[in-house]
Symmetry: C2
Subunit: 243 residues, 2 copies
Amino acid sequence: TIYGITPTYARLAQKADLTRLSQTLMLVRNFHWVIIEDSETKTNLVENLLKESTLKYTHLNVKTQKSKHSTASGVEQRNAALSWLRDHLRQVEDKKGVVYFMDDDNTYALKVFDEMRKIKKVGVWPVGIVGGMRVEMPLVTDGKVTGFNAVWKSFRPFPIDMAGFAINATLFLNHPEAKFSRKVQSGFQESEILKYFTTREELEPLADNCTKVYAWHTRTQKPSITNPKKLKTPPIPDDHIEV
Amino acid sequence: TIYGITPTYARLAQKADLTRLSQTLMLVRNFHWVIIEDSETKTNLVENLLKESTLKYTHLNVKTQKSKHSTASGVEQRNAALSWLRDHLRQVEDKKGVVYFMDDDNTYALKVFDEMRKIKKVGVWPVGIVGGMRVEMPLVTDGKVTGFNAVWKSFRPFPIDMAGFAINATLFLNHPEAKFSRKVQSGFQESEILKYFTTREELEPLADNCTKVYAWHTRTQKPSITNPKKLKTPPIPDDHIEV
Ligand SMILES: O=c1ccn([C@@H]2O[C@H](COP(=O)(O)OP(=O)(O)O)[C@@H](O)[C@H]2O)c(=O)[nH]1
Ligand SMILES: O=c1ccn([C@@H]2O[C@H](COP(=O)(O)OP(=O)(O)O)[C@@H](O)[C@H]2O)c(=O)[nH]1
Ligand SMILES: [Mn+2]
Ligand SMILES: [Mn+2]
């Protein structure tokens, strides 16, 4: 089973982004979507979207505790998913699986899911359009990761985007302490979780020795909405329409 | 058959956008994707993407003739697709179908394709996040379109986005003159094509009397790439990697 872990939050393009992502996931075999809303309560929008999909899913929620020390987002959500996962794996017979942290606005080719089924411990691959580069990628020599092509904070222990690795699920049972942290600087969440499971040398290069791009850090443009009060003939209110 | 007509052009997020759109289309029954590159020649990127999908498709190309009088994009491409469509329909036994003009960066829920199978002549429905609104939509009274909620150029003959309508394919045989034009101002392409086939009064409201959003005019944020020449330790060149 591939466990895709996706934090999500309310915004104008949320349903569009979740819709196209869910439609991709519907084509992935043995996929379980763990979606965690950054909110006090679960919303009908996300609940109905999940129900109407053909996906196997788990719907959670936890609100980010914003503080002046940290603007990190996704931390509590991914940690909530990891707690759920550990409980779940302890209960099920078949504990085999892979954990992939998937942002709701990224783009995933179906091939990335085939790649991660080969993982023994931690697999890595390139990510398109991220960190100021066309592609951030592990550099591979003789089938081993020997460096990284990354220019944004290249001093990161693992200069890899969240979309560029997946982890054998069973390892989360072996390392019950492994989690994300609000205390690390931006860009260090990936390194924070990876440090529990692997070293740079142990990383398993996938996607044809890290030469193929199967995941992209796309972002959806924030829409600009005209203020109806500034219009001579304002439109009919549309708050009753779910967008 | 639903004929989806999609112009596309080379840019950093092109493959990502086409990948996620193609993965949605793979879930649509009886779908034929007509994809037209805005380029002098067909690219390997688009050709391979189509080949590796499970889609039925037709791959065309025609370069936009930019002039100082018009910055319209997609016109020659959609017209090339319409020429192909007319030839195709004249040859095939089953001429039944629907034509839908689909931008490569928009978001389409599977339900929009179910709706358009009900079309007799021209069907319409709301489009999310477009024209400065949460949702642009036809207003429906007693099952008839009686107006439009639109604030951007609301004087358009049909104030509807390209994603908000589809047309019975056979009508393109009845109206061999119907095509898009480089000569109309921005926002008037939809009105330009619709005028051949329908009037405001004849429009068929779909998606629950135009109360549901099944298509969104999403846009993918243009990525900003760091100039390697400005870096102390520039990365290894990555031009050999297709992104
Ligand atoms: O306040 C927030 C901001 C983001 N996210 C989620 O965290 C992930 C990463 O956020 P975003 O895509 O905005 O980050 P970026 O594109 O800047 O990496 C996405 O799945 C978001 O839905 C969240 O749950 N709460
Ligand atoms: O020079 C161009 C610009 C755009 N397009 C295509 O025309 C459609 C509409 O373009 P875009 O999404 O950029 O327009 P907007 O989001 O502004 O409506 C898309 O399918 C693009 O791929 C094109 O073929 N050539
Ligand atoms: Mn993002
Ligand atoms: Mn667009």
